[in-house]
């Protein structure tokens, strides 16, 4: 234990130089900016800035990329809250309540809540990483194909069970998204539902789907009104208001801790990703809230939970990446590549031979959280001017950013057309009460669920179904899903009783 603390202190010492702080500031600024652009994921941000690190020393390069990784997720929440166009998939759940707060004139406070929750979630995550890196990595390895399949399906089922709207529509939307996510070349080598298009061989790309369903449908909605905010009140935006939102997040310490734990565990599972962590955390927060009906209407907890989870998941993902050499997320896959370019070998060998480097990375991540808050406040404040711009001017500008973002994925015009098609479909779905987050989450998880189900079938054959009930971890996940279903049924009954009582009372009056 003393050795660990000494290593951490040495890591802090290594990071506290003008050169390192300078690169952290630059990485943070670039990550925030790129993450705020709809469609630019944290993996794209890290990938785009990776060439900048080729001439750097390995510790400087890793500190820079970690800063970009964490900052991109922060940046995504700014546009999610202000414009309902999540900059990154990880921030999709934040827009549910964050945007509603903006509509109520509390966009600055919402950003303050998000930044504080992210910082706390990240700090908890890296503290956990500091103490339990090895045991957590071993636990993550116990997640086999059945558990990975259930994790993927759990995201959709939790959304469906916790929706206040029609469960049938959410299930249909989620399954539709999963179906879209299964398009492409199958592990068996077959081409599945590519409709003769070479571009669909790689599957439906997540970025055009996110931009289309979230950003485009929101842009179409925007055009019909004068400003982003529907209310005509004169709202004042200030840095002070953003800072005033931060204590609001601190009033939910248990929620912060619970969401961070969810984020760490889900982030540690290879390929699960921060998006799943954010949605599961949001669903869990709603399930256990005193007033779940306030979720989706601007509930503070609705911003705290996903933001704490999505930043905490970065620590979880780094645990499996550094300790096992298995990327915990797509961005960690980029970081893995960066480490190899720098001559580092992630995995048990890294923990054995390069432990000081590992603790330098952890120290950089911890200090980044603090730098992030300040820079995010400044960037968030500068973005609030967008709320004062007429939507007639904002919408065309946003469209061009969206086009550039969709095109940047594979330099393919097909993705741009796909984004537009999703945008029109998403706009109609939104107007008719279907859940767009369910569709997007389905697209993200479709290929994961499909691959893991195939692997489960390959392992267990006709015993595939029973395998979900005989493995302890699978049982835990299934129990959680059943818990959510029971909660849905009982809360629906309670709401129906309340409505019946209200109608009787009104009839009596």
């Amino acid at each position: 234990m003393e050795d660990t603390i000494l290593l951490f202190i040495n890591g802090i010492h290594a990071v506290m130089s003008f050169k390192m702080i300078g690169w952290m500031l630059l990485g943070t600024a670039l990550g925030l900016l790129v993450g705020a652009i709809p469609g630019f994921t944290s993996s794209m941000a890290t990938g785009l800035l990776l060439p900048m690190t080729f001439g750097m020393q390995s510790d400087v390069a890793m500190v820079f990329l970690i800063s970009v990784y964490i900052a991109a997720i922060y940046g995504g929440s700014i546009t999610a809250i202000l414009l309902n166009t999540p900059g990154t998939p990880e921030s999709s759940a934040t827009s549910f309540d964050g945007y509603e707060l903006t509509q109520k004139g509390k966009g600055c406070e919402a950003m303050g809540i998000a930044f504080c929750a992210s910082a706390i979630g990240g700090l908890i995550s890296y503290t956990v990483m500091f103490f339990v890196m090895k045991p957590m990595a071993m636990l993550a390895l116990k997640f086999g194909p059945p558990e990975m399949f259930l994790i993927a399906v759990m995201g959709i089922s939790v959304l469906a069970m916790l929706t206040t709207g029609s469960m049938a529509k959410t299930v249909a939307a989620g399954f539709f998204g999963l179906l879209l996510g299964t398009i492409g070349i199958v592990p068996t080598g077959e081409w599945r539902a590519t409709f003769g298009s070479m571009f669909l061989a790689e599957g439906v790309q997540v970025v055009p789907a996110i931009i289309g369903f979230f950003a485009f449908s929101e842009i179409f909605d925007m055009v019909d009104r004068e400003n982003v905010i529907r209310s005509s009140r004169n709202i004042v935006y200030s840095v002070r208001k953003i800072f005033s939102g931060m204590p609001m997040a601190l009033r939910h310490p248990l929620l912060l801790l619970k969401s961070a734990v969810i984020g760490i565990f889900i982030g540690a599972i290879p390929a699960a990703g921060a998006s799943v962590a954010a949605f599961v955390s949001y669903g869990e927060a709603k399930r256990t809230a005193k007033h779940p009906e306030q979720f989706g209407q601007g509930a503070v907890e609705g911003v705290v939970a996903p933001e704490s989870a999505n930043n905490a998941s970065t620590g979880g993902a780094l645990i499996t990446t550094l300790a096992l050499g298995v990327p915990g997320s797509s961005t960690c896959a980029v970081l893995l590549g960066a480490m190899m370019i720098q001559g580092l070998h992630p995995g048990p060998q890294l923990l054995r031979d390069q432990l000081p480097m590992v603790y330098t990375i952890i120290a950089a991540a911890v200090i980044s959280q603090l730098i992030m808050v300040v820079m995010a406040v400044l960037l968030g404040y500068s973005f609030t001017f967008l709320l004062k711009v007429s939507t007639k001017v904002l919408a065309p500008a946003l469209i061009f950013f969206c086009i550039a973002g969709a095109y940047a994925v594979r330099n393919a015009a097909f993705d741009v057309y796909l984004m537009f098609a999703f945008g029109i479909l998403g706009w109609f779905m939104k107007r008719q009460g279907y859940s767009l987050p369910a569709v997007v989450l389905g697209i993200v998880l479709g290929s994961i669920a499909d691959n893991e189900l195939m692997r489960t079938y390959a392992l267990y054959g006709s015993g595939t179904v029973t395998s979900f009930f005989t493995r302890p971890l699978s049982l835990i996940i299934l129990a959680f899903m059943v818990l959510c279903l029971v909660h849905k049924i009982t809360s629906d009954r309670r709401i129906r009783k309340l409505r019946a009582t209200n109608r009787t009372q009104q009839g009596g009056v």
Binding site: A395, P396, F400
Partner: protein, 166 residues
């Protein structure tokens, strides 16, 4: 809500059925593509298509009302007007024009030099969105084109379309 009469009955169909119809058409096309594939490749998508069909049954149940012509009129399930062929689900004029502007801008954007395409495309979309102030119509497109060029191509080294055809 759509209302029509058939065999002496008044049938009301809710707007959510339109999206359901689109999704089911996609499922049909998807299944037509995969029906010759191996069991492994069909397993999960078949489960999903069946799931969508089951969820669809519940959506139909919530959005279809059948009543005899002689019955008193019941309120519309989705709160929309009871009049036949109401157009509340159609895009408003501005949005429809804007969508057309979006199509034109995307075609221009990906089929020519991107930065130059932004100039006419942005002006067109601003005009279709209802902007009439000349300084904005003339000034914003070049500013936007310059910003996108500097930010994406120069700083982030992200490729923008350049005389590409698809």
């Amino acid at each position: 809500m759509f209302v029509f009469s058939l065999w002496g009955r008044r049938i009301r169909l809710g707007h959510p059925l339109i999206v359901l119809f689109v999704i089911l058409c996609f499922c049909g096309a998807y299944y037509a593509q995969i029906r010759h594939l191996s069991f492994d490749a069909r397993m999960f998508p078949t489960f999903l298509i069946v799931g969508i069909a089951i969820a669809g049954c519940f959506i139909v149940k919530d959005n279809v009302q059948i009543e005899s012509v002689g019955d008193a009129e019941t309120p519309a399930a989705d709160g929309a007007s009871k009049e036949t062929g109401n157009v509340s689900f159609l895009p408003s004029g501005t949005v429809l024009l804007f969508m057309l502007g979006g199509v034109v801008s995307i075609v221009l954007f990906v089929n020519t030099i991107a930065v130059l395409a932004i100039l006419p495309a942005a002006a067109l979309m601003l005009y279709l969105a209802g902007v009439r102030r000349l300084p904005i119509l003339i000034g914003l497109p070049p500013a936007l084109a310059l910003f996108i060029y500097l930010f994406f191509e120069k700083w982030l080294s992200v490729m923008l379309p350049n005389m590409l055809q698809y």
